[in-house]
């Protein structure tokens, strides 16, 4: 009984900082009027109608597309890397994991700014290219640089959950598979891979969600050519002052993310999530 009481401050916290803001977002989404004046608010689904027009849908499509591609790239780089790290001797393994984690000690914005200087007109890459005859190559401000930024920033979130599942895998299971006639490839496809799915699902979710909603990476590395749904939402709150439309888009994005997580966790047979999935 007493133990239950310990929970109250946390419930209060959850209420003030998560539940109430969420309700406010929902409230704004379903109303129109002057965002600064409560008196003018009236119920409306106009914001949603406005979103379901080609201009905005295209932005959503582009955001999802870029996020998916970056998730796939992260998976293709991250899984083999996590696998290799998990097979190393403890000493080397710790160093490699440290190298994966170190960039995360620095601020996300700083890391992205670093790419600006690397890829900029006077950056190292551009200069190097000019030596071999390509002058004034514009490396920045396109979808590829946005993808690069996403993969670079979110890769650790793919590697770490997969690594933590692989490292905990019971070696006797792999021996059992070899004992039953599986060669190295079959041990991987029939035992290691299926057992690491919870880590893969967690990795996918942890990369896809920030990637689909990012606005910093796209506005820094993509310029005005690469407007994503995150940028649209940011614009509504900071420049256009249309909190209603911004809230509606936030809700749409949230619902979209919820659906995609639900779908991905369906592939995860082991729903209880021994590897610690998000669901």
């Amino acid at each position: 009984m007493k133990f239950k009481n310990i929970g109250y401050p946390y419930f209060l916290w959850l209420g003030i900082f998560i539940l109430i803001p969420l309700l406010l977002v929902a409230y704004f989404a379903f109303t129109t009027g002057d965002s600064q004046n409560f008196q003018t608010f009236s119920f409306s689904i106009e914001n949603f109608k406005r979103f379901f027009t080609p201009i905005y849908l295209n932005v959503l499509y582009k955001s999802v597309n870029l996020a998916l591609i970056s998730t796939v790239i992260c998976l293709l780089i991250g899984y083999p890397l996590a696998y290799i790290i998990s097979k190393e001797k403890p000493r080397i393994r710790n160093i490699m994991i440290l190298l994966v984690v170190i960039p995360m000690w620095m601020n996300f914005l700083l890391r992205t700014y670093a790419w600006l200087t690397l890829l900029g007109k006077n950056g190292i890459l551009s200069k190097a290219l000019s030596y071999i005859g390509f002058n004034n190559v514009q490396l920045l401000y396109n979808d590829t640089t946005v993808l690069l930024g996403m993969v670079y920033n979110f890769l650790p979130f793919m590697i770490l959950p997969i690594f933590s599942v692989l490292i905990k895998m019971d070696n006797r299971l792999l021996e059992a598979a070899r004992d039953l006639g599986a060669n190295k490839r079959m041990v991987f496809t029939r035992v290691v891979l299926p057992l690491s799915i919870p880590g893969v699902i967690t990795g996918i979710t942890m990369v896809f969600i920030p990637a689909v909603s990012t606005f910093v990476i796209s506005s820094l590395l993509g310029g005005n050519k690469s407007t994503l749904i995150g940028n649209l939402i940011e614009q509504q709150f900071r420049y256009t002052n249309d909190w209603h439309f911004g809230s509606a888009m936030s809700i749409i994005l949230m619902v979209f993310i919820l659906i995609s997580i639900a779908l991905s966790s369906k592939f995860d047979k082991d729903k209880e999530g021994k590897g610690g999935g998000l669901w």
Partner: protein, 347 residues
């Protein structure tokens, strides 16, 4: 034609770093026998099994499977399967898929897989469990599935690494008998690793007692129990009274301040030896006919017999007898020549 030896291990040494785990051991396993590697933890028995299974490479020496050198052959190419300690069943597969794992890899037709799995489940008394989750099974059931998963591949040799260690006493006894009967029915070689001497005595055709990376004794359970070759084996297998003695001449041994007749010869004269007498071989008789006279220091009822500690002044004997004596009572003890086991002192 079938070879008489299933497995031959010749001069195997295994080192992990500087630690010698197996020190130049050689042994053979006959076709269709139940062989047990018995010893305390760290004696090298599991390493020996893993070398036969192909999970460890020996530092020196060779392993032969029916006269064919398999020392460097990977596990998946050996006609040997293993039942692992704590089973190692695949948690992402159900009972059927676990048992069918090896058959699917060999691309066995679906119909055949189904009938073979059903047959195996019947063999281990778990018919109808095909679709159950591994985690919903009890330890004993998981154990049986692990055995079925190994046997369904029709191995020539089955390796079992302390498979009953995680089960409770009653289930362990049941499984001992069941394993033995399964081995007889499928008619293949079992190599069993355990530290439990009773388990080894119950199931084995041959026991290999190991200690500190060396083979101490190879023999049938009766041989090992009745004729332990040295102090270690005598202590490890069953309860024993072990004393220092001296072989005076052939058929005469002196220990506990008494000269006994024995059946051993060929040690030479006045040679120090270890003498082993099993508690159940100590007979309580009238004081007038006794070899030794002592006082009962304690008595415990053990079910079939009483276990007594009898102090004869120079040694405290463990005696098993169906006779009940009082603490403090004087008793006479006798040992017949046949029950005196004499072993050379280890250098």
């Amino acid at each position: 034609m079938a070879k008489t030896h299933a497995i031959d291990i010749i001069n195997i040494t295994k080192k992990f770093g500087d630690v010698v785990v197996l020190d130049n051991i050689s042994l053979y396993v006959r076709q269709n026998e139940f062989l047990t590697l018995l010893g305390p933890s760290g004696c090298g028995k599991t390493t020996t099994l893993r070398i036969i299974g192909g999970f460890e490479k020996p530092t020196k020496g060779n392993v032969y499977f029916e006269d064919e050198d398999i020392t460097t052959l990977p596990p998946y190419l050996r006609q040997i399967n293993t039942v692992f300690q704590r089973y190692a069943l695949f948690p992402h597969l159900n009972v059927f898929e676990n048992i069918a794992f090896g058959l699917k890899i060999k691309k066995t037709p679906k119909k055949e897989i189904e009938s073979k799995v059903a047959k195996m489940l019947k063999l281990v008394n778990l018919s109808g469990f095909e679709n159950r989750d591994i985690e919903s099974l009890s330890g004993g059931q998981q154990q049986r599935i692990a055995i079925a998963r190994a046997l369904v591949n029709e191995p020539r040799v089955l390796l079992l690494d302390e498979p009953l260690g995680a089960l409770d006493l009653k289930l362990r006894k049941e499984m001992q008998l069941e394993l033995k009967s399964i081995q007889k029915r499928v008619g293949i070689t079992f190599i069993y690793v355990t530290h439990d001497q009773e388990e080894a005595l119950t199931m084995s055709d041959t026991i290999i007692v190991m200690d500190k990376g060396k083979i101490q004794q190879i023999g049938t359970p009766v041989d090992i129990y009745n004729e332990p070759i040295n102090r270690f084996v005598a202590q490890f297998i069953g309860e024993s009274n072990i004393l220092d003695g001296e072989m005076k001449e052939d058929f005469k041994v002196f220990f506990a301040n008494h000269l006994f007749s024995c059946v051993d010869k060929g040690f030479g004269n006045n040679i120090p030896v270890d003498v082993v007498i099993r508690p159940e071989d100590m007979e309580i008789i009238a004081l007038s006919e006794a070899h030794l006279i002592g006082r009962v220091e304690s008595i415990i009822f053990k079910g079939v017999h009483y276990e007594m500690e009898v102090n004869t002044g120079n040694f405290i004997w463990t005696v098993h007898s169906t006779l009940k004596k009082e603490v403090g009572e004087e008793v006479g003890l006798m040992i017949v020549p046949d029950n005196i086991h004499i072993m050379r002192k280890e250098s």
